[in-house]
């Protein structure tokens, strides 16, 4: 892997204020077996025009986070605390009624499986127009017109004819385009894409990611892209949050984090991935063990039961003290934001990366 120079971070001069600021977000679900801490102390912020990747394996809390931002847990048993600031409003404190004005209008979401995310009994055009009609006082005819324009914009050929199709009549890629049209019809400031391409083929995935980037440019929206695929993050995102056991274990700009990953979990992810661009000189190195229980979260560092390097930290600190997310020191650019949740001393981390991790990737 070659080191990169200064990260190409987008810096919109016009709007330096964060559009979305998540602070110490916690989403806990009471169950018969105990309290499931799906998200436990997550913080990040996002400006307009930026794409933030949230990456993690199943059960890491990434989807729960996205639903919390849209307030979809309201009315359920979930306990949400912390704050989600969206243009001066705290969405955690907002009522379901207040949230409705935001949903679909200011912030919208696209889901992993467009077939199950669209209602099987309604025409796709009507489903998209419905999203427009909730937030805009227009006639059905105008909404239909707007929907057809939107279908054209997301690259559905013969948009007017497709309006009356049902979801099952479209191919997977076309369905996801329709889903994107539905999400963007009110020109939202924030788009949350939850594994938008996981169910799609690679060539279709490439088209959809390209489309999301184009529309981001056109609307100057902020995008949260939830994925398990580090490749998708590298291709698409500006910022990235690596989640494990409901917590952010490493976060920063994409260029920085890929050039200089510092959390043992991130190393584990990278080392267990087969690469298409080269043949590894060694076998894949899976992360030993299995993901943590979200009910009995390990004491100390959430990753300690699977970490190969906890013996490098003096005094069993990994098992007793919960590490804070703190800035790294090894970054190439002093401006780059890069934080990691790890007790291993910074110099030692860089040493491990250089001598033990890099050669195996």
């Amino acid at each position: 892997m070659t080191d990169t120079q200064a990260p190409p971070v987008r810096t919109p001069e016009s709007n330096d204020e964060a559009l979305l600021r998540v602070e110490d977000l916690r989403v806990h679900f009471p169950t018969g077996d105990g309290l499931v801490k799906s998200v436990d102390g997550l913080s990040f912020s996002l400006r307009r025009g930026e794409i933030l990747g949230i990456v993690g394996e199943s059960g890491s809390g990434k989807s729960v986070t996205s639903q919390a931002i849209l307030g979809l847990h309201k009315g359920s048993k979930a306990r949400v605390s912390g704050s989600i600031w969206f243009e001066g409003t705290d969405l955690v404190a907002a009522s379901e009624h207040e949230m409705r004005a935001f949903r679909g209008d200011q912030m919208a979401m696209i889901f992993q499986d467009p077939l199950s995310a669209m209602h099987p009994f309604f025409k796709i055009g009507d489903q998209i127009a419905e999203a427009y009609l909730v937030h805009n006082k227009v006639s059905k005819r105008d909404a239909r017109q707007r929907t057809i324009e939107m279908l054209q914009k997301v690259g559905i050929p013969n948009a007017a004819g497709r309006y009356d199709d049902y979801p099952h009549q479209l191919s997977g890629g076309m369905r996801q385009r329709a889903m994107i049209a539905m999400a963007l019809i009110c020109r939202p400031k924030l788009l949350i894409a939850d594994e938008p391409t996981t169910a799609l083929d690679v060539t279709v995935q490439a088209q959809i990611l390209e489309l999301i980037k184009d529309l981001r440019d056109e609307l100057d929206s902020a995008v949260i892209l939830i994925t398990h695929d580090l490749g998708v993050v590298a291709e698409t995102c500006d910022q990235v949050v690596v989640m494990y056991g409901g917590q952010a274990v490493e976060q920063g700009s994409v260029a920085e984090l890929f050039a200089q990953p510092e959390m043992p979990y991130t190393w584990g992810l990278l080392a267990s991935m087969p690469r298409m661009d080269r043949v590894r000189s060694t076998r894949l190195m899976p992360i030993p063990g299995s993901p943590p229980s979200l009910i009995n979260v390990p004491n100390g560092c959430v990753f300690n039961p699977r970490c190969r390097f906890s013996d490098r930290v003096p005094g069993r600190k990994c098992f007793t003290e919960h590490p804070e997310l703190s800035p790294t020191t090894g970054s190439a650019s002093p401006l780059a934001v890069h934080e990691v949740r790890c007790h291993i001393p910074a110099e030692e981390r860089q040493q491990i990366l250089l001598t033990e991790i890099r050669p195996t990737l």
Binding site: M1, T2, T4, P8, E57, S58, S171, G172, G173, M174, D201, V202, T203, V204, Q205, A206, Q207, L209, E210, H228, D229, L230, G231, V232, V233, A234, E235, T236, V254, A255, F258, A259, G268, L269, L270, S272, M273, P274, R275, M276, D277, R278, V279, R280, S281, T282, R283, L284, M285, P286, I287, S290, P291
Partner: protein, 377 residues
């Protein structure tokens, strides 16, 4: 870019006698949907249409392509889970397509299958012991050490705790269930395992465990794999040779390294360029070849080259007479370079698709050939 292969890739030059499996022009047509008031049969769906490949003992052939390309159907037809419509499948020299179900039975122990979904391929009401031991019962065989002992050995071999013999599938995680499926496939000591998307449903870290296990078992038992997957990274890691399928046909088949470093078919180019690589530095300089349009219907494939309707090269680079050629004459899968068979009239080596570096010409004294143009009438 480091390209040190961990093991010598057997080139396509092995002689016929060494082949474990030889598949020749197999076809699988499914009956088309009835339509119209009288219910005339529609065109048959050509899920697999003339696929040929061969496999030596201990070798892994990767079968890649997008959904609907026929790779899974090919796998099922090869292991005779479904009856192919045409063509021959020779396993150790015997033509399986001519065998009756009775004659097929002893052959089945030689070839097993692993499936994608470790949730639905295991009977939830059977214990792990019963599931893993089922091949013995089906084949009516009593292992020397006794079924239970043998099953527990198998479980230990694939990394499951043998004490969990009496547990049920729901008590295991996805990765462990996939191990159960592998143990079951190994029970009769097969020579060939057809793996249908065995790691697609698993998280990255678990996926790595299963991939490593499959590699170890191959080493230990000399297994041959047909490895069906849509994930081109996993396929590159595990395969010796790779076949790329599109609309029921093989577009390109060659050694693993040749396919990833010197792909010749425009569809292979598009596939490789579409896979994102977890390195933003590489990503920023790579070209992405976007395919347009949808997959044509396999019941009504395009004339001539089946890929021409979506081929970027057809659209952007070819002359009118060349296009006519693509539209009317179907290409043949044949060697365009030694050991590299390509189904294309105008193949072209591209070595810049993966890491975005401009084609490194003259490496190892081998200049990448531009188009080898056939004579166009």
């Amino acid at each position: 870019m480091t390209t040190t292969a961990p093991r010598p890739a057997p080139a396509g030059a092995t002689t016929t006698s060494e082949k474990l499996l030889e598949v020749e022009a197999i076809q699988k047509y499914f009956p088309g949907r009835r339509s119209g008031i009288a219910g005339q049969k529609g065109n048959p769906i050509r899920a697999v249409d003339g696929v040929s490949f061969s496999l030596a003992a201990g070798e892994t052939l990767g079968l890649v392509g997008e959904s609907g390309c026929g790779k899974s159907t090919t796998g099922r037809a090869v292991s005779k889970l479904i009856e192919p419509t045409g063509g021959t499948i020779r396993f150790e020299g015997r033509d399986l397509t001519k065998l009756s179900p009775r004659q097929m039975r002893p052959m089945r122990r030689q070839m097993q299958m692993i499936f994608q979904d470790p949730y639905s391929s295991l009977n939830p009401r059977h214990t792990i012991g019963t599931i893993v031991g089922s091949p013995f019962r089906i084949q009516g065989e009593k292992p020397k050490a006794g079924v239970k002992r043998t099953v527990q050995d198998l479980m230990a071999r694939v990394g499951l705790n043998p004490e969990h013999y009496n547990r049920y599938p729901h008590e295991f995680s996805g990765g462990q269930r996939q191990r159960i499926g592998i143990a079951r496939a190994l029970a009769l000591q097969p020579k060939l395992i057809v793996c249908d998307e065995p790691v697609s449903a698993l998280d990255v870290s678990v996926q790595a465990q299963v991939v490593n296990l499959l590699e170890d078992l191959q080493q230990e038992f000399g297994l041959a794999y047909v490895f069906i997957a849509h994930d081109l990274s996993v396929v590159r890691h595990i395969s010796d040779r790779v076949a790329v399928m599109y609309l029921g046909k093989i577009m390109e088949i060659t050694d693993r390294d040749a396919l990833y470093e010197r792909p010749m078919h425009p569809y292979t180019h598009a596939l490789l360029s579409a896979v994102p690589i977890p390195d933003p530095a590489i990503e920023s300089r790579r070209e992405r070849i976007l395919l347009t349009g949808d997959l044509p219907s396999p019941s009504d494939p395009p004339s001539g080259c089946v890929f021409h309707t979506r081929c970027p090269k057809f659209k952007n680079e070819l002359s009118d007479s060349e296009r006519d050629h693509c539209r009317t004459v179907e290409p043949v899968l044949e060697d365009k370079r030694p050991g590299q068979s390509v189904y294309c009239h105008f193949p072209q080596v591209r070595s810049d698709l993966i890491d975005g570096a401009p084609a490194a010409a003259g490496a190892a004294g081998e200049s990448p050939i531009r188009t080898t143009r056939p004579r166009v009438a």
